[in-house]
Subunit: 408 residues, 2 copies
């Protein structure tokens, strides 16, 4: 008997029929004697429908009120799933984020979880209840409804698993695990049985959409055993995301090739080259709640330098507007941008002990005539920004070059 | 400058365009300097959509979970209306029932308001905010989401007006006031400028759908000035619902003819005629949260009696099932029912000082050959249950017989 947190995404609960199927699956786990906490997303399309309504009223909806509206999506699902479980003869009780109390900061539409009150949930579990919690949402200190941003239901699941000291957090999705790369781009992509938190973090941050990045961070930080599984298949162990020690010694150098189309590049040209300039540029960007990814500052010349960074493509216009103001303020020359870029990355803890991965990656890309626009490296990943049109080609040749299509 | 609570029903906020129109109206009131608390319903059709989803899962949805699902309807509207007000340049902030804290009992799907915490609202009003509150919902002591039952948004509005000592509670709807009867049945029906709480209470309880009965009770009890207005017309004073002293001396005998189609009759035949039998029959009905309207017990014969009462038609099957059990328990002979009945009533505080209203009513119905199945009277109303097919005819002839089509 284990305490398991299961999270079901929007497609898994996309219709009342699917909700009934999820309830049947949960009922089987319950009959095995497990204590279960279930986190659910809004039914597919519901969040977009709600955002659409908001945008009919305000082009840029007020963030506090947007969270009030959007958080209803998950609230509908928790109630429906609780009913479906009762139909299966399973005791169940639903909670919104505010009811649990999942305390967050007040950054509406992208709030962070500060604390979870686990008392009600533990009491319900002891009573034999399956506890159903709305993903993606919480409340701030003042009781305002907040949401964690897109994909935040994964974070809710992992945070609950951490708060409850759960044995495992299972993320049910429409794929059966984590792959070496997207099988739609490379048909030879293989499912990984295990992957380390660090690798998964890099994969997630680089656009592998299986798990939301913050949920992996959380899981790594609190040592939550995380498993990705398909909610549409009865069998299969999925992919276990775990600490490095649990991974076999025969670690491949590269575990996967991740990519992200959703990128845009901004460059401030002719920035006065003086201390503190990076902060003067990125401070206002952070204040506008914009996430910056790669940052590059070229060596200065004639007392000025060029400063580039990438943002999520949907935030390009907002970031550009901020930079136009910054430009005036700091006396830079010009702001330019490029929205037709993408990012491709090789990820693997094995590269720590195997030098030469970067040079091999650059060589493979050069052989195909793919121009590298930006480079960024960490201990376990190498990312390049390239023109969007080369994305599929780059992923395929890197997947092959690092032998990811070989059966182990 | 007054403190006004305004309530807008589902059709008034039935689309984003209508929500924008409501926001424009509120903005005008705000510019006149009034302090405003706005209560809104779910957008038309939304509550039914949500109940439909629930019924796809459970034929009889679990009441606690149904409230979790259904309460999202109003939550969407409050967020959208707050956005629309911000677009109009008006400061606004939305609250769910739980956020305000509208404390109710735990009778899910038909909870009653116990207390309203007015602190947040008063603080917001002092700040110059328009406060928007989700109608129809609250939370119980344990923090479970509750709903007040259909039409409960009116009750929310009146209860807020009482708690805040508001100068007036304005109920915006798709009609421009309270009529002597339904104009769809009697084209000569006239709008009333004023009506007493007691009359309105009888009218509402008898099926005049303008206001929910509990809201009128509440308004009468706490002396809240209540006004019914159209949200689709710019002009018009609507109908003021007020205490009797505010009504002119020249009170007509009858103020209106109310009716209700939504009725069903149940009779327990051959009930042992002993003390406590009414409680033994109606106790289980009350325990099942079924509202009973008219109750008739015939004089006993041969040691047994027949016991009849009416319920809302949608609750007929449930009530019948309860009675079948009661029948076994008390040793009655048979349970019979009739779902094709309706109720027609003449209402007016004037009948207190004018005897003969009942006999006139019975005579008028008899002249048209309409058989009376049940009779019930109060100080200010006379109700008869008749076969549903005579409803329109009965209403028309009574409206005319009591001179309600005369201009005053």
């Amino acid at each position: 008997m284990a305490l398991i947190v299961q999270k079901y995404g929007g497609t898994s609960v996309g219709s009342t029929e699917r909700i009934r199927n999820v309830a049947k699956r949960i009922a089987r786990f319950r009959r095995e004697g497990h204590k279960l906490v279930i986190v659910v997303s809004a039914m597919t399309g519901e969040t977009n429908r709600l955002i659409g309504l908001a945008k009919e009223i305000q082009a840029n909806p007020d963030p506090r009120e947007l969270d009030v509206v959007v958080s209803t999506g998950e609230q509908v699902t928790i109630g429906l799933l609780a009913m479906a479980l009762k139909e299966e003869g399973v005791n169940a009780r639903s909670y919104t984020g505010g009811q649990v109390r999942i305390l967050t900061d007040s950054a509406f539409t992208k709030a962070r979880i500060l604390n979870i009150d686990e008392k009600k949930i533990l009491a319900d579990l002891d009573e034999g209840q399956v506890v159903i919690v709305a993903g993606f949402q919480g409340v701030d200190e003042e009781g305002n409804i907040t949401t964690l941003g897109r994909g935040g239901s994964d974070t809710t699941g992992v945070a609950l698993a951490a708060a409850l000291c759960a044995d495992e957090c299972q993320i049910y999705t429409d794929v059966d695990g984590v792959y070496t790369t997207d099988p739609r781009v490379v048909p030879e992509a293989r499912k990984l049985d295990k992957i380390t938190f660090e690798e998964m973090l890099e994969m997630a941050s680089l656009g592998s959409k299986v798990l939301q990045i913050r949920s992996v961070e959380f899981a790594g930080k609190y040592k939550v055993k995380l498993r990705v599984l398909s909610s549409f298949q009865e069998e299969g162990e999925g992919t276990l995301i775990t600490v490095e020690e649990d991974i076999s010694m025969e670690q491949p150098i590269i575990s996967g090739i991740a990519f992200s189309r959703d990128e845009a590049k901004l460059t401030v040209l002719g920035v006065p080259d003086r201390p503190g300039i990076a902060y003067q540029i990125l401070g206002p960007i952070a204040d506008a709640n914009l996430d910056v990814d790669m940052i590059i500052q070229n060596v200065g010349r004639d007392g000025t330098t060029d400063f580039s960074f990438t943002v999520n493509r949907p935030e390009f216009e907002k970031a550009k507007a901020v930079l136009e103001k910054v430009k005036e303020h700091i006396g830079a020359r010009e702001v330019i941008g490029d929205r037709s870029i993408c990012k491709v990355s090789a990820v693997g803890v094995g590269m720590r002990s195997h030098p030469g991965v970067a040079s091999k990656m650059f060589r493979v890309l050069a052989e195909e005539g793919i121009n590298i626009l930006m480079i960024s490296t960490s201990e376990i990943k190498i990312s390049v920004v390239i023109n969007e049109k080369y994305l599929e080609l780059a992923v395929r040749i890197l997947h092959k070059a690092f032998d990811l299509d070989q059966i182990d």
